[in-house]
Each structure stands twice: as C-alpha cells, then as structure tokens.
C-alpha cells in the first residue's frame, strides 16, 4: 500500500513513516499543503493521511481541491479538534474518515487499511464468504457449514461490517461509528460484549474460530485455516 502523509509536524511524520514501513507499506511525506497537493496529483497513492492544520494550504482545502479534480484517492483526516462538528466538516470537504489526535497507531492503521480496501470492487458484493461462513446481504441470511444462524438485525450488521473487512483489523471505534453511527465514547466495553454474543453464535459450536480478537487493536474475521 502506498501512503502519502501530509503533516507539518516533523516528528509525527517521521513516526508515521517508520511505523508504516514496519507494517510493509510505502510511505511518502509532504510538510505543507502545497507540496502535498502536487504529490497527491501526480503519484498513485492508495491512501492519503492529511493533517487538518497545514501551512500554506489547509488540509480540508487540499482534499477539496483533489475532489474537484476528480481525484478520488481515499483520505483520512487527522485533527486535534475532536468535536462532532469538525468531523462533519471534514467529511463534507471530501474526507473519507476522521481521526482525532492523539490516536493510537493501531487505530490509524486499521482505518487506512479499511479505506484502501474501499476502492476495491467488493463493495457491491451481495455475498461475503469467510471459510465456511456465508453472509447473504440480500436475503439477510447467515449460514455456517450450511447451518442457518439466526442473528438480531444489529448482530447481522456487525457481522456484515466485519466480513466486508475480512482479514483486516477492525477497531472498536470503527465498529461503533459504522455499525451504530455513534461518534462518542461509550464509557464501557459495550462493543466487546456485543462481539462476544456474536462470537457465541457464529463460532461456539463450530470447530475453528473465525472471529478473532487482536490484542490492543480490535477484532478481525479471518479463516485461520489459511
């Protein structure tokens, strides 16, 4: 994955570059909005990480300009401003996701991986398959090893999101935002409890578990036989 980091803080940029490289990604870096805009126009990046406050050209303007030029590279906005309103403004400007500083690197990584995947065609898939687990988005039916599993509507959407990002790490915040549309801190481990309920339905009475906990990051649905 090729990532462009547009960030004026040298230390943050270096940290991101190094950490992304360790994860096997290629990261390039621009220190201001102007340079970032030129690089994003030219290079074929999978994801842009854009700081909101940038010298020369504001982060939202960078994204807005790219979108106006029909450049649809997914963009994650990083911001020190954490309010809901700022997030809405960021998404309205053409950003695809929004993360408030300070953030954990695992959260950032999970989000950019999800963003990069979004451009791939399986967005329109009507069936998700992981191992012997099958989710049909049209008939709202879930089967494992041919056996029907009854899920509550919310459990279905939870599994749907996890399977759409199969093989990727999905964080608790991502689940809360995308499955429940809540952009606030729920104070307790609500997501964990819902996951464990889902797990008891799809994994408990079957041989190999598909829904895994990734320590310090979140969850992933993956066929461990691979």
């Amino acid at each position: 994955m090729r990532v462009l980091v547009i960030e004026d803080d040298q230390e943050t940029a270096n940290f991101l570059k190094r950490a992304l490289k360790e994860q096997g990604h290629v990261a390039e870096y621009a220190a201001d909005g102007q340079t970032g805009l030129e690089l994003a126009r030219g290079g074929a990046y999978d994801v842009l990480i854009v700081d909101r406050m940038l010298p020369k050209c504001d982060g939202l303007v960078v994204i807005g300009t790219l979108r106006a030029e029909e450049i649809r590279t997914p963009a994650l906005i990083l911001s020190a401003l954490g309010e809901v309103d700022d997030r809405v403004k960021g998404l309205r400007a053409g950003g695809d996701d929004y993360l408030t500083k300070p953030y954990s690197f695992s959260e950032l990584l999970a989000r950019i991986e999800a963003l990069a995947r979004r451009t791939s065609p399986d967005e329109s898939n009507t069936r998700f398959v992981v191992g012997d687990l099958v989710l049909d988005r049209l008939s709202h039916k879930v089967t494992r090893a041919g056996e029907a599993i009854i899920l509550q509507p919310r459990e279905f959407r939870l599994l749907e999101y996890l399977m759409k990002h199969a093989g990727q790490v999905v964080t608790r915040t991502m689940l809360l935002e995308n499955v429940w549309d809540y952009h606030f801190d729920p104070q307790t481990n609500v997501i964990d409890v819902h996951i464990s309920r889902l797990r008891s339905k799809i994994d408990k009475s079957f041989g190999s578990p598909l829904l895994h906990t990734v320590r310090g990051a979140g969850y992933t649905v993956r066929d461990s036989a691979h």
């Binding site: 809901v84 309103d85 606030f184 307790t188």
Partner: protein, 486 residues
C-alpha cells in the same frame, strides 16, 4: 481648561443649554403676546373714550354752535387728566383747549392720528406721545380731541426691559445650574470610571460606588455591581475547577510515572516491559478521555457545539442505546428495561444526545446494582429507561435500585470531578454527569436527580419539537389526541 471643555461636552450640560434656549424662546413669546394683547385692549378703550367725548362735543356744537363748543372745551381743559383738546381757527390760532403748539402735518391731516406734543413739566417741557381725532368745522375751524398715550410707550419699555432682564437671569441661572449639575454628575461618572479601571486591573473585589439616592446612576451601578459579583463568582469557580483538574489529573499521571519507573528498575526483560508499556498506554488513553470530556464540557458550556441539530426521535435513540447497553447490564447481573414506544421529537444533536443518554445508562449500570443481599426477591434488579412526552417537554428518565445519591449531594454530583466515596472503586472520571448537564442546558433542558425509593432516578428534560409532529405521519395522531385532552 481641559476640565472645562470636558464639562461642556457632558450630556447634562448640553441638555441644560438646549432647555435654556427652549425656555428663552417660550418666555419671549409669552411676553410679546401679553404686550400685544395689552396694546390692543388699551387702544380699544382709547377709541371708545375719544368717541364718547366727540359725541358729547358734537351735541354741544349742534345745540350752541362754535361758541358753545369753545366754552365746553375751555371747561373740560381745566379738569386735569389725560384728555387733550384744541379748537383753532383757519390760521391755526388756538381758541380753546390744552394743546399748545400743533405741527402743520397734524393740522392738515384728518381723522385719527398719532403724534408727539410737548407739555410743560418741571424744568421746561417734555415730548409725549398722543393720539387724536382731527375734525374740520365750518369756516375752516379745527377741532382736535385726543389723549395722552405716553403710558403705552412706557409699558412697551417696561415689558422690553423685563424681557431682557428675565432672559439674562435665565441664561445665567441655566448655564450656572447646568455647570453645577454637570460637574456633580461628571464627578460621579469619573468615580465610576476610576473604579472600573481598578477592577479591570485585576481587583475583582472592588464595587462601584452607590450613593443610596436610588437615582439612575445608582441603579446602573447596582446592576453593574451584581454583574461584577457574578463574574467574581465565576472566576472563583473556574479557579476551583482548575484546582480540581490539576489534582485529579496528577493522580493518574503519577501512577503512570511510577509504573514506568518500576518497570525500568526491573531487569526482567521483554514480557515485563511489554506489560508495563501496555498498561502505560491504557493509563494514557484514560487521561486523553478525561481531557476530551473536559474539553467537550467546556465547549458545551460556552454554548459551542451542537450546530448539527436535527429533528430527532429521542424515543428511538433511547431504544437503540438500550439495545447497545443491554448486554453489558446483563453481564453485571442487571436487567435493562426500555419503555419508550411512542415517538418523542426534540431538536437536538444526535451525537451529543447519544453521549448524554449513554452516560446515564453507563452510570446506572456501574452504580445501580443493589448492595449484596439487598435484593428483596429472587428477580434480577432492574434498570429502567423511559422516554415520554409531558406537555411541552420531552422527558427521559433512567432509574436504578442502587444506593442512590443522598439529597444533599444531588446538586454537587453534577459538578466536574465530583465522585461519591462509595463509587470511588469503579473506574470513571467524575465527568459523566457534568457532561450530561452541559448537553441538557445547551439544548435548553435540565438534568435532575431524584429519589427512586430505593435507588436513583435521573430525569433529563428537553423542550419538545412541535413542528416535527406535522412532518412525521406516525406522530401525527398522537399530538392531536393530546390537544383534545388539553
């Protein structure tokens, strides 16, 4: 000099000058009117007197001819008074009367005329104003009957000088009074300005002077003093809050520091280090959460945030959140019951409202469990959440059967970082209810803590959105039924 120009520039002084000009004009008008009316009255009387006299003389003339007339006039001239008479021949020689010399101009004119004549006085003669009627008798004799009207001239002079003196005094009093009043007022305004400068300089305990007369300046000062008291109180509470913040953040920070230090001191290798680092991250995340909550509360209290308000069915939101929290409650051995079936619309920011309700549910789950052995029956203790419309308000209440909050503490627990002793064992920052209160007041609502007998009942009240009822088809029947009842 500067003080004087400052004085002349005051509103009071300028007002005095304006009033002075107005009163001056009014007084002049009144005087002129009186003078004019008096003159008219006097002139009429004069005409009547002369006419009456002429009538009498004409009768005499008719009865006894010129001789009779001359005799009568000679008689009348003897009586002292203001009447003037003259009968003269064609050459202008006086035959009878008390008028001596007559100007040729008067001699030639006929009818009513005003003229100046001279009359003997102490040390010579004096010129006086007279009014007369001139007649020609047969044989070119002249008859002049008139009256001395020097008094009228005198009246005009008296009124004129009275006017001048009056206006002079008025101007003097007006300017002087204006100066005096302005100087007094200016002194008080200067005093208030000086005090407010001191307050601006940082001495918030100072108050503006109040004379006790209850005048407009006093009232202004009193209002400003109330404002200053409020500002001082706010400053004190801000100071208290920052003291609290410093204290409550110091504890986790020093815990974090100690843990890292302890890990560094141990020569155990990776697993120990990893564990220490993970716990450090956890602690840091907790701190970040606390900071975020603090910033949110501060922004909400400043009236910022919530720009994305929409017509929101809180009833549906309550159901959704109850569904989200229900498994957590169950894990703790509690039953979460949501009773909110009919849609209740409010104008609110979904995320803020969600956060507020989530905080209430989280509190109820954390602190709502009855003490060990406290359960009366075998059934699981219940946490209830209800959303309903009561009149113009939407009411969301969360009830539990936990230890509750003592009545005297209910106001206090809404403050930042306030945690009851009994709840210290649970993780939390003491900011949850403060945030709910801030969200409530931002949306024009209130947050109240009540006794659930036993347990706690938290009531979040918000103004209902009336317009939404017209849009929502499902909701349309409900308010109609209600208006009928009302």
């Amino acid at each position: 000099m500067i003080a004087l120009t400052k004085l002349f520039r005051t509103v009071t002084f300028r007002l005095s000058l304006t009033y002075l000009a107005l009163f001056g004009a009014a007084a002049t008008l009144a005087m002129v009117y009186i003078y004019w009316n008096t003159t008219v009255l006097l002139t009429r009387q004069l005409h009547q007197t002369i006419d009456a006299e002429l009538k009498g003389l004409a009768e005499q003339y008719k009865a006894g001819g010129l001789d009779q007339l001359v005799k009568t006039i000679a008689d009348r001239s003897e009586t002292p008074g203001n009447s003037l008479y003259l009968v003269a021949d064609a050459q202008g020689h006086r035959i009878a009367g008390n008028l001596s010399a007559v100007s040729p101009q008067l001699w030639d004119s006929l009818g009513p005329v005003e003229f100046v004549y001279s009359r003997p006085a102490q040390g010579g003669t004096e010129a006086r104003l007279a009014y007369a009627n001139v007649f020609r008798l047969t044989g070119d004799y002249r008859l002049i009957v008139g009256r001395d009207i020097e008094e009228r001239r005198e009246l005009a002079r008296v009124i004129g000088s009275a006017m001048l003196w009056g206006l002079g005094f008025m101007a003097l009093l007006g300017i002087g009074g204006g100066y005096w009043v302005s100087r007094n007022l200016l002194a008080r305004v200067d005093e208030i300005a000086a005090t407010s400068r001191t307050i601006m300089g940082g001495d918030l305990s100072r108050r503006l002077p109040v004379k006790g007369s209850g005048d407009e300046l006093d009232r202004l000062s009193e209002s400003l003093n109330l404002m200053l008291a409020r500002i001082e109180q706010l400053m004190i509470s801000v100071r208290e809050v920052s003291d609290n913040i410093a204290h409550d953040l110091k504890t986790p920070l020093s815990r974090l520091r100690n843990r890292v230090e302890a890990a560094l001191g141990k020569p155990y290798g990776e697993p120990v280090y990893r564990d220490a680092l993970e716990r450090t991250i956890e602690e840091a995340d907790g701190l970040i959460k606390t900071f975020n909550a603090l910033l949110s509360i501060a922004r909400l209290e400043a009236g910022a945030g919530g720009e994305h308000r929409e017509t929101l069915d809180v009833s549906a939101l309550v159901r959704e959140l109850a569904e989200l929290y229900e498994p957590v409650a169950e894990e703790r051995g509690l039953v979460l019951m949501a009773a909110s079936d009919d849609p209740v619309f409010v104008c609110a920011d979904r995320q803020l409202m969600g956060q507020a309700i989530a905080n209430l549910l989280d509190n109820a789950i954390k602190y709502g469990a009855p003490k060990e052995g406290g359960t009366a029956s075998g059934s699981k203790p219940e946490i209830g959440i209800t959303a309903r419309a009561t009149g113009d308000m939407a009411e969301i209440d969360v009830t539990d059967h936990g230890p509750g909050v003592p009545a005297q503490e209910r106001e206090r627990v809404l403050g930042r970082f306030v945690r009851l002793e009994a709840s210290r064992s649970e993780p939390g920052s003491g900011l949850g209810l403060s945030l709910v209160a801030a969200v409530a007041s931002l949306h024009g609502g209130t947050l109240k803590l009540e006794d659930n007998e036993p347990g706690l009942r938290v009531v979040l009240t918000l103004p209902r959105e009336r317009n939404a009822l017209i849009n929502g088809a499902a909701a349309e029947t409900e308010p109609r039924a209600e208006t009928h009842h009302a």
